[in-house]
């Protein structure tokens, strides 16, 4: 029985970490069921679409990895899964670039959201690297040509001495292990920052009368249907 010795125990590092995490991202911020009324544009869809496409890419890529790198050259099913992977990547990059431009045009880094932008752009650059190594490990003519061309750029700045695009094994590791881990961490970090800081208000907007600080309006007295009515706004978020 160790209970008496635990009296006054506040959890140590574990408890401190939990309290800090919950304080920064309480459940209602992490999974909100309301959003500020000004969030009403199709541009907001592209962040979610990017994450959805990333999942499609990870699942199709995981399937390819399970069967081995040569599978899709000899199997019709494998070739189709590879096609899923390619088009998933094309959609992922398209959605992400539109999302990035949208956030630039909204100056979405305002209100202490600079780190959210920085992590997002680094995730974009990591995605370019991941896609690039993917092309290198296709084991076909494209891979040969891209490796031959890319080595010159990488060697010219000293990177090629350590990151050898002609080493299939090394590139496969970058593509299916190292860069996906980096991209996964950056994506989660980016999303948590978005949830923590909330959606950036319109440029020049001043806060109308309402709760200030970290409190969520969802906790304020609610209107009919559980939603405080926005001036002039009705219905769903999407136009």
């Amino acid at each position: 029985m160790s209970a008496p010795a635990d009296e006054g125990w506040t959890g140590g590092w574990t408890g401190a970490l939990r309290r800090r995490a919950v304080r920064r991202l309480p459940p209602e911020k992490l999974l909100p069921d309301t959003q500020p009324a000004y969030m009403a544009s199709w541009i907001y869809v592209f962040g979610v679409l990017t994450v959805a496409a990333l999942i499609a890419v990870l699942v199709s890529g995981g399937w390819l990895a399970l069967e081995g790198p040569a599978w899709w050259h000899t199997s019709d099913v494998g070739h189709y899964v590879n096609s899923l992977h390619l088009w998933g990547v094309e959609l992922f990059m398209f959605f992400m670039v539109v999302h990035l431009w949208g956030k630039f045009l909204m100056a979405a880094w305002r209100g202490r959201r600079g780190l959210t932008w920085v992590i997002g752009v680094i995730a974009f650059l990591a995605s370019v690297g991941t896609a690039f190594t993917g092309y290198l490990v296709q084991q076909n003519f494209d891979s040969q040509w891209i490796a031959g061309q890319a080595k010159d750029g990488l060697n010219a700045v000293g990177i090629g001495a350590y990151f050898n695009v002609a080493d299939f094994g090394q590139m496969l590791m970058w593509h299916i292990v190292l860069l996906p881990v980096v991209l996964g961490v950056l994506t989660v970090w980016h999303i948590l920052l978005v949830r923590r800081h909330g959606i950036v208000p319109p440029i020049g907007a001043t806060a109308p009368e309402g709760p200030e600080g970290d409190e969520l309006p969802a906790e304020a007295p609610e209107g009919p249907g559980g939603t405080p009515e926005a001036p002039g706004a009705s219905g769903e978020v999407r136009p």
Partner: protein, 313 residues
Amino acid sequence: MRTPTPDPAAFPTRRYDLVREFTIALVLVVALTAGLAAVFSSPDDKPITLASWSRADPADFTATSVAELGGTSDTAQYGPPYNDTAGAAQKLGPVGLQQAAGVRIPIDTANDFVIRPLRTSPELPVVNAALAVWAAASPTRQQAWTGAYADALGKAPGGDPAKVAPGRYGPVPVLTARLLTLAQSGGLDGQLLTEGGSFYQTDYTRPLLFLSDGSYLEDKARAQHLGGDQWGMMNETGNFPGQAWLWLYTFWYQIDPFKSSGNADALVWGLMALLSLILVLVPFIPGLRSVPRFLGVYRLIWRDWYREHPRRR
């Protein structure tokens, strides 16, 4: 003076189902991906092997072999990380990162691409004798033989070794002819991959560099619009979108001063590193971070808000 960005929590809210939106997005993206994959498939042009290259274009293979043996190929004179060719490394202004990285993947083209594969395969006495003559000759003599043979091949009809005029080529014709036979049999592909005695191998540096030194690979690539002056790596074989996101990187190779510079790769990589850093730091760069305010596209994005709050614009 600009108004500080208010907390979103201070604004009125509306209903918003995050999980439902994500689920719908995922279903849509999966359906779109499946549809695009079914309709457009994906490219998979077979790789070129040393065997297929040497069979399809024996003249190009032989000319490349002579250049590897004589140390005049692109790889032989590349500089770091493959060898120490003086003055070959590119520079970014005064900074020589290529030289600083050093020779980390040492490649001696004569030995690695020609001599060692011939030594490690069972050879006829005439080939063994040619290898012995080559090994006993001074570097100057070796280069004289390969230089003379390369010139003679260039003058022969179709670069055909069988039509080369007689001359002082030493053992070079015997060595390169045997390497051609070895390559055509498929043996050279495996030998270049397993040099060093490995059983498991994943490093294709040697065969890829050998292949890249010939003109066969580049001719095939140019026919597919993959050349450096054809926007290179952002394209893909066939009518596929390829890596469209590399457009800015490949763009610089299409214009001066980059396209005519011997340091083009270093300059473009340096420039892209700088541009990437600027993109990362946009929120902290005065002037640049204000561009969205001047562009005014945000008024369209939040048009509902500004319609309801005209004086707060």
